[in-house]
Amino acid sequence: MNLITAVIKPFKLDEVRAALLAFGVTGMTVTEASGYGRQRGHTEVYRGAEYTVELLPKVRLEVLVDDDDTDDVMEAIVRAARTGKIGDGKVWAVAVSSVVRVRTGERDAAAV
């Protein structure tokens, strides 16, 4: 099993989810995140003091997938999340040694 983590623009979440569903992946875990990178933030002004908000809102997805599906799922996420503008984010994969479904105790492929 692999764990694919994707950091994407928040408004792309729905499209990515649809792409995953189309691929047959029905589960994922989502966290709010913020990203620093090449993309620049916006400025806010309060009583004559200007702040640059450099941490940009991102969404972080985690998807557990079979080894065989890993590349395809990454590809699917990348395609769905792309806008072509700076800040689109990253997708990466890490090897998972074991997975358990809490409800049933099923392991690995059966767990997701």
Partner: protein, 457 residues
């Protein structure tokens, strides 16, 4: 000219303050209903109306509403009392400031200053009401211009027609030939007027990006309810103050205002419970506002039992009308049409049934009902046509709609350069850097221009 009655005058001063508070109340009622990214913009539309209309009313608004009669009763003369000239006659006289403003209005011993104050607050909130229709997508500069132009072209004439001795008053054609249309506190001038304007502007602006696709649920329901609470409170000034004195009529209007609101809340919640399975907080707040709207024209003309009926009918009808809007596909975002146009119309027309002096249910003939329908229709027509003209003109001149990117990012950051909340624990909250303190900028160095900078990779 009646001598000063301090009791009546105190009540009018109090009422004016109460009505003024309604606009911040409305700001929260609306602000809680939009998404988090637009809440400041929503609040700013109401607050800025307090700025622009507050100045304009004193300059030419009062005069256009109540001074003289030009264009055949369509409007007052903007120059007669420009800057409230002549409304405080003793002001510069030998008595000096001590007697300033002691000129009286009507027969109640209320000073004209108190009357102006009261009227001023009505103009402000009428403009602010419209903002609910254009939520989340209007250019702020265009809103500022609209607030000034619309109040001048649409509101002041209508106020004149109904309250200033104009076309829809007892002295107008309907009043002379049929029976005087009844509007106790502004069902036509305020609510139908703003409701129509909202619908027209929502139409001109088009739908929000993501309409019917993205969830656009209220970001802060307690704010919606806070706003409703402040509106209910302030509305006692609006309606009971419209008695023009602190008499039993004011008391009756007070009771009817409260009772209709209670009944409308129940009516709305009942519809929700049956149709949507849940009686919601937004529904309670909306139902209360619908009741307040509907009883506005009727508050001094009906019995408490009548007000219960009017409230219940209005609450249920508005809840139902909002569903209808969904069917029409018009993005009247916060339902100014569904609440103020429909509620104002329902209240105005039901007077024809429930008026204890002239209503059908009290044995009178249908003349009042007819007069009410005519007045409501006239208000709809006048507001519709003038708003359309004003809206199209501004659209042509400067555009009505915010840039798409700004709309997607959220108007708070894009237009106002602010985020509403910074509620993170200790962590990311304050994150960012102080990039500039304007007062400390060496003169000559100019501020960076663009807000959204992207460097190329």
């Amino acid at each position: 000219m009646a001598p000063l009655d301090t009791g009546n005058n105190a009540w009018m001063l109090t009422s004016a303050a109460l009505v003024l508070l309604m606009t911040p109340g409305l700001a929260f009622f609306y602000g809680g209903m939009v998404r988090r990214k637009n809440v400041i913009n929503m609040l700013m539309m109401s607050f800025s109306a307090m700025g622009t209309v507050g100045v304009v009313y004193v300059l030419w608004g009062y005069s256009m509403s109540f001074s003289g009669n030009i264009l055949g009763g369509l409007v007052g003369n903007p120059f007669t009392s420009f800057g409230l000239a002549g409304q405080f006659p003793e002001f510069l006289g030998p008595g000096g400031a001590e007697t300033a403003g002691n000129s009286f209005d009507g027969g109640s011993g209320v000073t004209s200053m108190a009357f102006v104050a009261f009227q001023l607050t009505f103009a402000i909130i009428t403009v602010a009401l419209i903002s609910g229709s254009v939520a989340d997508r209007m250019k702020f500069s265009s809103w500022l211009v609209l607030s000034v132009v619309w109040v001048t072209v649409t509101y002041f004439p209508l106020a004149h027609m109904v309250w200033g001795g104009g076309l829809l008053s007892a002295d107008g054609p309907v009043g002379r030939h049929l029976i005087a249309p009844m509007d106790f506190a502004g069902g036509t001038v305020v609510h139908i007027d703003a409701g129509v304007a909202g619908v027209v502007l929502a139409f001109l602006l088009g739908r929000r990006k993501g309409y019917r696709k993205d969830p656009m649920r209220p970001h802060n329901v307690p704010f919606v309810m806070l706003g409703a609470g402040l509106l209910w409170f302030g509305w006692f000034g609006f309606n009971a103050g419209s008695a023009g004195n602190a008499s039993g009529l004011a008391g009756l209007a007070w009771i009817n205002t409260s009772t209709a609101t209670s009944a409308a809340m129940i009516g709305w919640l009942a519809v929700e419970r049956i149709r949507d399975r849940h009686a919601t907080g937004v529904g309670a707040a909306s139902g209360a506002v619908a009741g307040l709207v509907a009883i506005t024209p009727a508050a001094g003309f009906v019995s408490p039992i009548g007000s219960i009926a009017i409230g219940a009918i209005a609450g249920a009808t508005c809840a139902w009308a909002i569903g209808l809007k969904n069917r029409l596909g018009l993005d009247d975002s916060l339902d100014v049409g569904g609440v103020h146009l429909v509620g104002g119309f329902v209240g105005t027309v039901l007077i024809g049934f429930f008026s204890t002096s002239t209503g059908l249910f009290y044995g009178s003939d249908g003349r009042q009902l007819l007069a009410q329908v005519i007045a409501a229709a006239a208000a709809i027509a006048y507001s519709g046509v003038t708003t359309l003209i004003v809206g199209l003109a501004i659209k042509k001149a400067m555009g009505l709609r915010a840039a798409t990117d700004d709309e997607l990012e959220g108007l708070d950051v894009a237009i106002h350069g602010e985020s509403a909340y910074d509620l993170e624990g200790a962590s990311l909250g304050g994150s960012g850097t102080l990039s500039h303190v304007f007062g400390s900028r060496p003169p000559g160095e100019s501020a960076p221009r663009s807000t959204h900078q992207e460097v190329t990779a």
